[in-house]
Subunit: 197 residues, 3 copies
């Protein structure tokens, strides 16, 4: 890791070899051996990153969040108490009475695209994709894919608007009043518009 090794709090449970440079793993946070965490991430108090999860760079995982097997893009924000799920039909036992383990069902990991924010205490259901720079409002339960730059809220979560990379809402023309960015419609939501001369 050279000049900037990851930091693992003494109470945490993570193998530094699974962590990128500059990443910080705080009190009681846990990273399972088959997870991978990028550079400059922050894993909050008591957060959990399960086997199969792959986190990009600059991802922030809030306190107590549970990330099961998800793919999380660069710069995404996973709020405190969020659950990213992968088991579509949770049971404790298989039909033969044996313990139901990870290999006993077809996991459907969540995908969180780069720059998206999952507000505190939100649940993202198995197999759901959240688009780039989207914002899931705190306390949401997300059953359906979320387009890029969309804001969703509620249980079940529904579209309530559009958001800029800077975190502010867009106006009806998809312009950000705070930072001035323009956006255009795409098949998968909105995309930032590059300035034309």
């Amino acid at each position: 890791m050279g000049a900037d090794p990851p930091y693992v709090h003494p109470s945490a449970d993570a193998d530094p070899d699974t962590l990128g440079p500059g990443t910080k793993v705080w009190n009681e946070a846990q990273v399972m051996p088959d997870a991978r965490v990028g550079a400059r991430c922050t894993l909050g108090k008591s957060s959990f990153v399960g086997d199969g999860a792959v986190l990009g760079d600059d991802v922030k995982v809030g306190n107590h969040a549970d990330v099961y097997g998800a793919k999380v893009g660069d710069g995404a924000f996973i709020g405190p108490h969020c659950c990213l799920l992968q088991d579509p039909a949770p049971r404790s036992l298989n039909l033969d009475g044996s313990r139901r383990e990870a290999g006993d069902y077809a996991a459907r990991p969540v995908q969180i695209a780069a720059g998206a924010s999952i507000g505190a205490a939100s649940v993202v259901l198995p197999g759901v994709s959240v688009g780039a720079n989207a914002l899931v409002a705190a306390g949401s339960v997300v059953h359906r894919d979320v387009p890029a730059h969309a804001v969703v809220a509620g249980n079940p979560a529904r579209a309530v608007g559009w958001v800029c990379r800077c975190g502010e809402r867009l106006d009806d023309a998809h312009v950000c009043g705070a930072c001035g960015r323009h956006h255009r419609e795409t098949p998968s939501g909105l995309a930032e518009q590059t300035a034309s001369a």
Copy 2:
């Protein structure tokens, strides 16, 4: 415990005498002294099982779940971040200004029947009963009793269908398309139908 003693992670807080054989208590999980946990259970990271709680065999308690005084049947699944509550009118203080403690109110424990699954981050209100093999969808807030084999979802949780022991939804005739089990109506929900010759 003989051949298969319970396992308690070094960071956990549980007296092995309260745990059945084969039960595993993971990182920072806590079992209070007056709780009882059956055989082959799994208590996830930072989960809490409070005084008065009684868990059957093969129960899985997810990460960060809080189980206060509930009765939980064999093979039930309590998802990550679930709260099973027992205090119907939570306050910090009694009217005389003294600290409100467990003995100062009439606790109304939750009952979770055998084989039921409580999806991640769901809240079950004090006194609520969840029937056998029922499924509470992730992120639900459950105010009313849930019939056996019912699926409930939302805040407040409402009935949305029926589910098989195997975890799949039942069709309109209460037959499971995945494993073929038939079910009949009972006063408390559905029950599996035993094959007739």
Copy 3:
């Protein structure tokens, strides 16, 4: 602290100098250095009290609750798994690609008045005020200010009634059938009526 020093569990992370007399900090709970906690508080398992938070006396913080920068009045109850938020537009990165830290946005702390109860697993959005003796039902997501003695529930939380200091609902005349207290309307909700001769 004299005769009644605070108690900090060996697995917790809190400087006793930030804690009032008689306060108890349980397993894995964490109090940040710039938080202040009053007398006779209880901080539950794995709860987190962030920088800038100020808790009064006799406050109970439930297991796994996250309190970010909030002002919490005497005798308030913050249920297990609650999140009191302060960041209105959470992102991991600033627009220049640097890490977004506490100083990079205008925090809007939550205010919880004396005697209020925030039910388990509720989320209180940044900048929201909850009035004295109010009750937020378990599993609520609170976007708007809550009047004193009001009961709110749901996602988003809506008014559903009025509650007494003792925890019981008030009747249509704002009288408590359990303890007999009368209440009068005020611009900010209800207030207890002092007996007239």
